[in-house]
């Protein structure tokens, strides 16, 4: 037994199905930055029970989503009860999988949701909003003058994204644009259906003057309240950390809570407005650099997994003090 471990960070669903295990690593690093390396351990859901018994942590944080076809948290709850461990979940697929959250709310002492609108709808006495973040180690990149692309985006071609990109296409076609991901229509000459692992995304963003920030409208289990997303996803924070300018389609203004106007992120509402801002950025690399570096500084200051770890510890009664910026994002 390692007596030093205070926090065990685990997957909330099996790693064999989880394409986002990197997020757990980032969070482990964040906790270690706050508490020290020896105080934090990591486990997959598959190894969670023995690791829980081995480390006997004060806090177990399960990160991910909770599809009921593969998870059974009752033994985890029982083990936490026996050990006196606080059981928290950070659910990062809200609102797209909101209807499945009962698996976690049944057993959790504390719930964190990545989405500010979804969290309001939780039937749980301790549900808090906690946006995703970025990892300094994994995502921070120095500014590059030798940009390989003018505009970059990587992601699944959800219907809303296709609509936006198609409307932007006349302008995008006139600069060095690269859109990657899956399901992009063949008629977009700059789009390629090729996946890019998270480990390469930061480099790609850093090599691009502008990275598009486009929301998602594909829901897997969101029938009950048909919630629309409010909070930007992890890619927004990761791209900011990588030192790119993000042009964010303004379907929510919550992003301005995380990045002030011109602080790494510029909002656009339509193709004309997009083109104006893109022209300004491409026409003045110094301007682009100032915006990108401001965003990177903000991300480094307020949107790392270490800042999120502080909020988690405070909400779970394990930390007396939290930085002001960390507290600011913890909208309960």
């Amino acid at each position: 037994m390692s007596e030093q471990v205070q926090v065990l960070v685990a997957g909330s669903f099996p790693d064999r199905l989880n394409t986002n295990t990197a997020l757990r690593r980032y969070l482990v690093e964040g906790f270690r930055e706050v508490l020290g390396v020896a105080a934090v351990a990591e486990a997959s859901l598959e190894t969670l029970l023995p690791e829980l018994q081995r480390h006997r942590p004060k806090l177990l944080l399960c990160l991910g989503s909770c599809p009921p076809e593969v998870v059974n948290y009752q033994p985890v709850r029982a083990a936490c009860d026996a050990l006196g461990t606080h059981l928290a979940f950070w659910l990062h697929d809200d609102p797209y999988e909101f209807d499945l959250a009962y698996s976690a709310t049944d057993v959790a002492d504390t719930i964190f949701s990545n989405d500010g609108w979804a969290v309001l709808h939780y039937d749980h006495p301790r549900a808090f909003h906690l946006p995703m973040a970025a990892s300094v180690k994994a995502h921070e990149r120095p500014w590059r003058d030798d940009k390989e692309r003018d505009v970059f985006f990587c992601g699944v071609a959800f219907a809303n994204r296709i609509a936006i990109v198609c409307d932007l296409a006349p302008r995008l076609a006139r600069c060095r644009t690269e859109i990657l991901g899956t399901d992009w229509p063949a008629e977009l000459p700059f789009a390629h259906n090729r996946r890019m692992p998270n480990s390469e995304l930061a480099d790609a963003c850093a090599a691009s003057t502008v990275t598009l920030s486009l929301g998602r409208n594909l829901h897997f289990a969101n029938r009950r309240y048909q919630l629309d997303p409010s909070t930007p996803g992890p890619r927004t924070f990761e791209a900011a950390m990588a030192g790119t300018v993000q042009l964010h389609f303004a379907d929510s203004l919550e992003i301005t809570d995380y990045f002030a106007d011109g602080e790494g992120v510029l909002l656009f509402d339509d193709p004309r407005n997009f083109a104006t801002q893109l022209d300004a950025l491409l026409g003045d690399p110094g301007y682009a650099r100032r915006i990108a570096e401001a965003g990177q500084a903000r991300a480094r200051r307020d949107h790392t997994y270490a800042r999120r770890a502080e909020v988690i510890l405070q909400r779970c009664g394990m930390a007396p003090a939290v930085t002001a910026s960390a507290a600011a994002v913890a909208v309960g």
Binding site: P14, R16, E46, L49, P67, P68, E69, V70, V71, N72, Y73, Q74, P75, R77, A78, D81, D99, L100, Y102, S103, D106, G116, W117, L120, H121, D123, N160, A163, I164, C166, D167, N217, F220, A221, R223, R224, Y225, Q226, L227, D228, P229, S230, F249, A250, D251, S252, L253, E254, L267, D269, D270, P271
Partner: protein
């Protein structure tokens, strides 16, 4: 629970709409009610838990919110449980016809629309929607901080699109933010903008932020009705008027809705217009005069905060509720029998049947004077697409209804909306007060959630380990007891892959479902404390279950004086019950063979399992007598002269009725030391034991008892009625339990009327959403050994002998379909 006089209200709040993108309105009301000084508690619950929680929390006021998609039966029960009931509808006049019909279930109806009020007659009240400081209050922005000139969000009705287009034409350079969701029933918006710029969605918390970040927010009304009898337009403004005001937005409002002036002062708190030209002029003016605009926004915000939040609406609701006359106590009804529905896999008389069927039959007869028992049973002669409802009367089981479903049942299913709705219909139609789940085979296990949603109390008898594993005897793929409580899910995955071609994670899914399900059943009954302990080890949350009781099941009263056992040689040993693998069949062949020349004779009272039948014939054992099956109640006299009974199960039986029957007949049991057998028999006192998985030890033990018959006689002297559960004792216990559960069930007086409208809730409506309706998803098949076909062949022959050609043909067809479906992964 008595109400506190200072804080008298204990409120059950239900959003009637099962899929409601405007649920935030209900959340806003919940917060306002909870903050009201006269409210002790607000229980906001969905359909699955509403009745249960209203009862548990002693709620005395039921508020139904929204009105759409109402399940009338649940609401009728909630109204009866709480005593006073209010309905606040939010979609008048568009849903007026349905709302008026639903309003009959409530004491008062509050309509969002003043023009709809007359349709509700005396019980109608007008109550506009409002805003919430929690969700909507924002600082009024300085002009320079605004991001947009004009913001409009609303469905792209043609009248709205036309005005927006005109504004864009006349105010060159205006910075617009438009959200115009449209659908296939509307013409595509004719705007000089690409669709992505106006076709987007945002949640309500961001809607108010866009309003707050815009200099002007345009308010336009719709001309539309989804209901045939609805008026074309609401007279009362919707919630956005109040939300934008509280968010510090300046509103330019279409005055076709005159009632806007009732809530805000025109010219001081909002600016109105009567036509498109006026709208454009006002827009131009206020964009040019930010101070005037900001002053109006501030005044509107102050008015909204003072008069148009949910706190003020809650005040109205509670004042009206307080003014309701006391509801007269319901007249005492004449004594009658309780109506209990037995949900089970089979009934006595439909072969093959076993202990569960015998038990439920006995109890129904035992309690006939107090309980009217209905039986809900899958028809096993078909593929499970039919369930039959029987009532037990003097003539036996009388079918009163057959329910036909679109598809066959499968033991892999966790949910089936069609079956769930049909079940809810039965509960209402027959006024069921208690549901007793005997077994889920042939049913979807979601049914207890449906009973709970309707406020019908539930009980489950855990006759085996079906909730723990689809292998309900806990015999693993190696043919042995698996000690389920010590197995990891990975071990279960491997076992279930071999047995059922299940993908990894299947057991986790099933356990999570059943573990949660068991917590939602009012009473759990297991036959022994060992079963309770095993269930708690596997489902730890059951440690907190309020009523999980061990009570043995009774066996048929043999009504016979025990005859002194004969221990003369050869020693006669009875095996009571079906001769099967689970009862140690394979192992017993070795024992019979080993004792072929010893002074012992085994007499088997029960059918031989098909897969073992060929071995019986092949071995030609001179020391074994195969008596075949027996009718319950006829066994006693056939046991005369027999000294020992042998109970050789290889799984942890949960009680073992055969043991009770053996004791009652004066036989001394020799049992496998596992499960209830090991628990109930005291070694050397009232029976004997051997290690369940060691046939050699059983041979040794039998030889010892043959050699020392006085030990058998001594044990026989210690047999007494306290060793088994008596029928009268169990009957008294069950009758009392049914009565207490029926007292918990929500009143059913309004059922006959209420049940006629509104789709019954499904599992998903109860908040349990599954990505897949099945717990088992099919993995790549494991190649089967060449012996599989002969085994099937022998099973078919055995079935033919027992059930005849027609039944065998049906059974083979069913099996072929099942295997084909499994192969296809259906």
């Amino acid at each position: 629970m008595t109400a506190n006089t200072a804080r008298p209200w204990r409120i059950l709040l239900l959003d009637t709409k099962r899929s409601n993108p405007n649920h935030y309105l209900c959340i806003a009301l919940r917060e306002a009610l909870a903050a009201h000084p006269q409210v002790a508690c607000v229980v906001a619950a969905g359909y699955g838990e509403a009745v249960h929680r209203a009862q548990a929390e002693g709620c005395n006021l039921f508020i139904a919110f929204d009105g759409e998609e109402m399940h009338r039966e649940t609401c009728a029960r909630l109204a009866a449980v709480c005593g006073r009931s209010l309905l606040w509808v939010t979609e008048d006049p568009y849903e007026l016809g349905v709302n008026v019909a639903n309003g009959a279930l409530f004491d008062l109806v509050f309509s969002n629309d003043s023009a709809s009020l007359a349709r509700y007659c005396a019980k109608g009240r007008h109550l506009p929607l409002a805003a919430s400081p929690l969700l909507h209050q924002l600082e009024v922005r300085a002009d320079g901080d605004c991001r947009y000139d004009l913001f409009f969000a609303g469905t792209a009705w043609p009248n709205r699109v036309a005005l927006l287009k005109q504004m864009m034409g006349e105010l060159d350079g205006i910075k617009l933010k438009l959200a115009l969701p449209h659908n296939e029933h509307l013409p595509k918006p004719d705007l000089p903008l690409p669709p992505s710029s106006y076709s987007w969605r945002t949640p309500n918390n961001q809607f108010v932020r866009f309003a707050n970040a815009s200099r002007v927010v345009l308010s336009l009304h719709r001309v539309f009705s989804a209901a045939a009898d609805g008026a074309p337009m609401a007279a009362t403004p919707g919630p956005r008027l109040f939300e934008v005001a509280l968010a510090g937005g300046f509103q330019l409002v279409d005055l076709s809705l005159d009632e806007t002036r009732r809530y805000f002062d025109e010219g001081r708190e909002f600016i109105g217009f009567n036509n498109d030209g006026e709208a454009i002029e006002q827009l131009r003016h206020y964009l040019a005069h930010p101070d005037e605009r900001i002053a109006i926004a501030r005044a509107a915000q102050a008015k909204a905060l003072a008069l148009h939040t949910y706190a003020q609406r809650a005040e109205v609701l509670l004042a009206e509720a307080a003014a309701l006359p006391e509801r007269p106590a319901a007249p005492a009804s004449a004594p009658r029998r309780l109506r209990v529905l037995q949900v089970t896999h089979n009934i006595v008389g439909v072969p093959p049947y076993g202990g569960v069927e015998v038990y439920q039959d006995m109890m129904a007869k035992q309690l006939a004077a107090e309980v009217e028992c209905y039986f809900y049973v899958p028809d096993r002669s078909v593929d499970g697409s039919i369930c039959r409802l029987y009532v037990q009367d003097a003539d036996g089981y009388r079918e009163i209804e057959a329910l036909r479903f679109a598809g066959p049942s499968t033991q892999d299913a966790l949910t089936c909306p069609e079956r769930e709705r049909a079940f809810a219909g039965l509960l209402g139609k027959y006024g069921i007060e208690v549901v007793h789940f005997q077994h889920f085979i042939g049913h979807v296990p979601s049914l207890p959630y449906i009973a709970r949603a309707l406020g019908v109390a539930t009980m489950m008898s855990l006759h085996d380990y079906y909730p723990v594993c689809s292998q309900f005897n806990l015999i693993g793929y190696d043919g042995r007891f698996c000690h389920a409580e010590t197995r990891s899910e990975a071990e279960c995955d491997i076992c279930l892959r071999h047995i059922r071609q299940a993908q990894p994670g299947s057991q986790a899914c099933r356990r999570a479902f059943f573990g949660r399900l068991l917590q939602h059943i009012d009473v759990l009954q297991a036959n022994t404390s060992e079963v309770v302990d095993r269930y708690r080890a596997i489902f730890p949350a059951l440690a907190a279950h309020p009523h999980f009781e061990a009570m043995g099941v009774p066996s048929t009263d043999l009504s016979r004086q025990a005859v002194p056992p004969t221990v003369a040689k050869p020693l006669r040993v009875a095996l009571i019950g079906n001769f099967s693998h689970n009862k140690g069949g394979e192992m017993l062949f070795d024992v019979f063979e080993a004792l072929r020349d010893d002074p012992v004779r085994f007499e088997i009272f029960g059918s031989v399992e098909a897969v073992l039948a060929h071995r019986v014939a092949a071995l030609n054992l001179p020391n074994v007598i195969w008596h075949g099956g027996y009718t319950p109640g006829t066994l006693a006299e056939r046991l005369d002269g027999i000294g020992l009974s042998l109970h050789s199960s290889i799984w942890p039986e949960t009680y073992c009725l055969a043991l009770s029957e053996a004791w009652q007949a004066g036989l001394v049991p020799l049992v496998a030391d596992i499960g209830a057998l090991g628990l109930r028999v005291e070694e050397g006192v009232n029976g004997f034991k051997y290690p369940h998985d060691r046939p050699g030890a059983l041979v040794d033990r039998l030889r010892q008892l043959i050699a020392e018959p006085e030990r058998v006689l001594a044990a026989q002297a210690n047999i007494h009625a306290g060793l088994w559960t008596s029928l009268p004792e169990h009957g008294r216990w069950l009758a009392a339990l049914y009565a207490s559960l029926a007292a918990r069930s929500a009143p059913t007086a309004l059922l006959a009327e209420a049940a006629q409208h509104g789709a019954a809730p499904t599992l998903a409506d109860c908040g349990v959403v599954l990505n897949y309706p099945l717990w088992r998803r099919t993995a790549t098949p494991i190649p089967q050994p060449a012996t599989a076909l002969p085994a099937l062949h022998h099973r078919a022959i055995g079935y033919l002998r027992r059930h005849g050609a027609a039944a065998t043909a049906r059974r083979m067809a069913h099996e072929l379909r099942r295997r084909l479906r499994a192969r296809l992964g259906a």
